[in-house]
């Protein structure tokens, strides 16, 4: 079977035809809708992911306003359950997942020296399945569906839509994983794979491991709710308890793994240095992937009590260290190794550009989120009510650090590969303020909720109106922290909105200062392709002899 779907001849012919005629709007839309070019599929996915993430940030802002006022003074109490679920699902399945997978789909095949992604039509079908599923989820929530919803048909629609969205993510992840495993340039062993491609592989495998478990649960819930007695799964009010683990830490960390890889790669680019101890860096990223076991346990927290007897302590400590400790160890290892890269390259005069800033800040924020997940599991701190297993806002804060941190790094990826995707640079002066604004917004939005968690402000994924009432009631002394979180969500929303505007701005309007095909000094082979990269990426696929092939070329060039 031919799995390279786009023949270069076809692409050249299409380009030539496009030059000689004025493409109509319909032709243009048709080209995007039916494309098998991985760059376009990836950009569609990131575009819609950004849109849903923006909606989630705006919803969080509105919910915080309501939380500060009297009950029902700003948002009708009957709508709060659905709005909170829109926000939480929008953060993860609707937002960061398609954003991270989409950027990987767009960039990874080029990084590997491939002319196309494996199974491009599967990747495209995955995107449409996700899009349709997400739309169904939002429609059902708007019509009183969702976990704990009042309309039985809409609850069924919610379960169906969520299942479709998750299946779409799985299809995209399978296409991506197969690409990294089979479609590398000659000479590119797995040890020579770019760090972002490696992290995308880990993220894709983790997605394939975790998300089908959620699909299985959704099948049970659908059959039980639609046709069954609703005794096993506690009816509509039990749905939240069965699926809530998928929309919080540690599960959400799997979608942040590509962000960690992107940030690590940016250190080598900015400091014009080879990545030292590459194997350890790969191991660190893989350790973060251990969070995939969250799918096997279907729990949102693995806890340990230090103030307990020896046996009780050990029984809690082992899974706690496995599921919360290893990812933290992994991200700390990555941080240590990238700092080593910076130390090695400091003498050469670093080139600090916007993608590096996005990546660095994103990595730090994700690391804080993973550390918060670790802290949350220490029951002595009482961040989770041990009797009711009710979460405080500490859990939401940790999730926000991971999601917004990863999103920030992914925005950096869109800036970094913009010359290959659209043929022009996005100027640093336009996006650098957005990196700082987004990071500030995340610190305020997530950090304030971490503090509010210590003040016993109830949070979590609600499954009933009673839980919503608890979540929407501000705890004593928590008002100031909720206000700060509100401001943070506003800043994040502003960042996403402004960034989206920059992406939609026609390429010709930006200050394009390069004819250079490698304006950032990238070390991986996608930077040897033309800008913008044609549908088939490379005219000639080079044989790769090291992990940093363009760094080798530059070094040889400068030394000669």
């Amino acid at each position: 079977m031919t799995t390279i779907e786009t023949h270069p001849d076809d692409s050249v012919a299409a380009t030539t035809a496009g030059d000689s005629t004025v493409p109509s709007f319909i032709t243009g839309v048709g080209d995007w809708v039916t494309t098998t070019d991985h760059k376009k599929i990836g950009r569609l996915s990131t575009g819609f992911g950004l849109l849903v993430l923006l909606a989630a940030a705006v919803l969080a802002l509105l919910l915080d306003i309501e939380r500060l006022g009297d009950p029902g003074s700003f948002i009708d109490t009957g709508a709060q359950l659905q709005l909170i679920q829109m926000y939480r699902i929008g953060l993860v399945v609707g937002g960061i997942a398609p954003l991270a997978l989409g950027l990987a789909v767009a960039a990874v095949p080029m990084q590997l020296g491939a002319r196309q992604i494996a199974f491009p039509r599967v990747a495209l079908a995955g995107f449409y399945t996700w899009l349709g599923g997400t739309a169904l989820v939002y429609v059902s929530l708007a019509l009183n569906g969702g976990a704990g919803g009042g309309d039985a048909d809409m609850v069924d629609l919610f379960l169906t839509g969520l299942g479709l969205a998750v299946l779409g993510l799985c299809a995209t992840a399978m296409s991506l994983g197969t690409t990294v495993l089979t479609t590398r340039a000659p000479g590119m062993t797995m040890r020579r794979v770019p760090v972002f491609a490696w992290s995308s592989l880990i993220g894709a495998i983790a997605t394939v491991l975790v998300m089908p478990v959620l699909v299985g649960v959704l099948i049970y819930l659908y059959v039980d709710h639609r046709l069954g007695s609703q005794a096993n799964f506690m009816g509509v009010e039990g749905i939240g308890a069965w699926i809530g683990w998928a929309f919080t830490v540690p599960t959400v960390v799997i979608f942040a793994i590509p962000a960690v890889g992107f940030a690590a790669e940016q250190f080598a680019v900015a400091f014009k240095s080879r990545q030292p101890m590459r194997g350890f860096l790969f191991a660190g990223i893989a350790l973060i992937g251990v969070t995939a076991y969250a799918g096997a346990t279907q729990q949102f927290v693995h806890d340990v009590t230090f103030d307990a007897s020896g046996e009780t302590f050990i029984r809690g400590a082992v899974p706690f260290l496995m599921f919360a400790g290893l990812p933290l160890l992994g991200v700390l290892l990555v941080l240590m190794l990238v700092l080593l890269t910076a130390k090695d390259g400091a003498k050469r005069g670093p080139s600090v550009r916007a993608p590096f800033v996005f990546g660095f800040l994103g990595l730090l924020l994700v690391a804080v989120g993973i550390a918060a997940n670790f802290v949350q599991g220490i029951t002595d701190l009482e961040l989770i009510d041990p009797l009711t297993n009710t979460a405080t806002t500490f859990e939401e804060g940790a999730t926000l650090f991971v999601v917004y941190g990863a999103a920030l790094a992914m925005l950096g990826g869109l800036v970094y590969w913009a010359p290959k995707f659209r043929g022009s640079l996005i100027p640093d002066k336009q996006v650098l303020p957005l990196a700082l604004l987004g990071a500030l917004g995340t610190v305020l939005a997530g950090g304030a909720l971490l503090v509010a968690g210590f003040l016993d402000q109830i949070g979590g994924f609600p499954a009933s109106q009673a839980e919503v009432d608890q979540i929407m009631t501000a705890a004593d002394d928590a008002d100031i922290w909720i206000t700060l979180s509100l401001i943070g969500q506003g800043l994040v929303a502003l960042t996403l909105l402004a960034f989206g505007g920059l992406l939609l701005k026609p390429a010709g309007d930006t200050d394009d200062d390069t004819d250079d095909i490698n304006p950032y000094g990238g070390q991986t082979i996608e930077w040897s392709a033309a800008s913008p990269a044609p549908a088939y990426n490379f005219e000639h696929v080079a044989t790769v002899a090291s992990a940093e092939p363009l760094f080798d070329t530059d070094s040889e060039g400068s030394s000669s």
Partner: protein, 197 residues
């Protein structure tokens, strides 16, 4: 101007299709399927434990037709032999045997679905049963969907192989891998759902 034959600057030729792409994609799909079936069986075991701990039998009121379920298990493992035979025959360029092997593979898959329908009709499980019905139909229904997907894979593999690409056995190898995994998955379902009480 050169007097030699005119040369045209042609665009680069398409790179050869990477090897083992279909096989690797199938393997990843099998991994996803393992997590799907494994997760569902884990939930099944959880509910069964609750019932058994309460001193009741699981299932309480239904008689499982073990002959039919055992035959379904044997059908799937026998099917794997035919799927592998298709690979073997294709490698030898034997179109007739490849077609025969794929045909029998599809027939056995249909036999599985038929047997499952028989089990459903004979057991007469009420889907609205307090604790058993929804679980039973969710697990066995998902397994039927898995086999139906395999049947589609068999049709695609047959079209691919018998329409002129007989020597490209990668799709047939992926197809065989899928059926091996399906047989293993059903073995787990068979043990948990039909054997353990």
């Amino acid at each position: 101007m050169s007097a030699g034959p005119a040369t045209v600057a042609l665009p680069p030729a398409a790179a050869p299709a990477p090897r083992r792409q279909v096989l690797m994609g199938t393997a990843l799909a099998c991994v996803a399927g393992t997590m799907l079936i494994g997760g569902m069986l884990a939930v099944w075991v959880l509910f069964r434990e609750r019932v058994v701990d309460a001193g009741e039998r699981f299932p309480l009121d239904y008689i499982i037709h073990e002959v039919a379920t055992n035959v379904m298990l044997m059908t799937l493992w026998a099917l794997c032999i035919f799927a592998q035979w298709a690979v073997y025959a294709a490698k030898r360029g034997d179109r007739a045997h490849t077609a025969l092997a794929l045909g029998v593979t599809g027939l056995f898959a249909l036999a599985y679905i038929n047997a499952q329908a028989f089990v459903w009709s004979q057991m007469e499980v009420e889907i609205a049963d307090e604790y058993y019905g929804a679980l039973f139909y969710a697990v066995t229904g998902t397994m039927v969907a898995v086999v139906a997907a395999g049947l589609i894979y068999t049709v695609v593999a047959a079209f691919h192989s018998l329409s002129g690409r007989l020597q490209e056995t990668e799709v047939l190898s992926g197809h065989a891998l899928y059926w091996y995994w399906t047989a293993a998955a059903y073995s787990a379902v068979w043990f948990v759902v039909y054997v353990t009480k």
